[in-house]
Symmetry: C2
Subunit: 186 residues, 2 copies
DNA sequence: GTCTATAACCCGATAGAC
DNA sequence: GTCTATCGGGTTATAGAC
């Protein structure tokens, strides 16, 4: 792995652990083992490296979601799998957490890959929900767009409550409530 | 308002606008108009002022929630009001946003008031959901604890998606989906 | 309680040699 | 591409007079 990749890797990890604002170029250098001159050769500013690392984190999050949502099980089984997937809620979401960093939230270039990643998950969910309606697993009076957003905020909001409580309980209960409500219609 | 209160007020606003890590004592001084010596007289460190301001923000959030949830309408109407309340999702939640700041999330004294505030909202919600079950507005096979967490994560997660999209749409759709699912049982 | 001055360190970035 | 040296400014305090 060359310097450029090691810088992105280190910044990506630090974005997750400490956020963008709170991460300094020095920490990135120390963790990656790349020197000062090298770093500013590959990335003219902290922001440029930040954008590259955000894209990296967003890209890493999509394949597992795709695997779960575009599998061969029934639509409802796939939605259940999406909500039941392994998570470490106390660590926060690699992508969602960034939106709460004002320096990121006020920078459209940083927000763009995050929005794009969420939009892709959203459209996959809408597709699966549509299939679930066809299979009569979900009643057709429910709006797929709204439902997709509800499933996504359940995960994202679950991180917030779990961190506040330092306990994954709220995260797990919210997921179960969403499943209870969906399955109540069968 | 004395210096101490003005410091807390300024820090509270900055916590919302910029987060804890990204807020410097200097900004607090400039916004509050309180001098350096004064500031360190009242609060021996940034962290002490931060804790006071977090408590302040948490306290400010409870009364409006109480008004909505402990009103005189039917339980279901109150739950609907909780989800339908005015929000500016693009600004983020004064309390929830703090959980995504690693410096806050790793400090149990800072987390404590946040957790306490969420716990109080949770217990109010459980109470109202229990009443809704009694009034046959919600079926009794749904778990009130889980449901309360789902309603809370809907709000908190809505902020995350709305900021990512720079559009309140996801926030509003998630709230509507939650209401759709609850009302589908009537 | 509030003021001004100062400290020691870190930040994000640049310069220029190799 | 990578290195070392350096920059101007900001950060979180501390000191001590008023």
């Amino acid at each position: 792995m060359d310097s450029r990749d090691r810088l992105i890797e280190a910044m990506s990890d630090l974005l997750w652990e400490r956020g963008y604002s709170a991460t300094s170029p020095r920490e990135v250098r120390e963790r990656s083992g790349v020197g000062q001159g090298s770093m500013y050769h590959h990335f003219p500013s902290k922001r440029d490296l930040g954008i590259a690392a955000i894209k990296h984190n967003c890209d890493a999050l999509l394949p597992p979601t795709r695997d779960v949502l575009l599998g061969s099980e029934s639509p409802m089984e796939r939605l259940t799998a999406y909500l039941s997937r392994e998570h470490e809620p106390l660590l926060g979401c690699k992508v969602g957490r960034l939106t709460q960093d004002p320096e990121v939230a006020n920078d459209s270039e940083m927000l763009a890959p995050i929005n794009e990643a969420f939009a892709q998950v959203h459209s996959m969910l809408v597709k699966v929900i549509g299939e679930a309606v066809e299979h009569k697993e979900i009643p057709d009076h429910l709006d797929p767009d709204r439902l997709a957003d509800l499933l996504m905020v359940t995960i994202q909001g679950g991180y917030v409550l779990a961190i506040a409580a330092q306990d994954r309980g709220p995260f797990d209960r919210a997921r179960l409530a969403a499943l209870d409500l969906l399955n109540a219609h069968l």
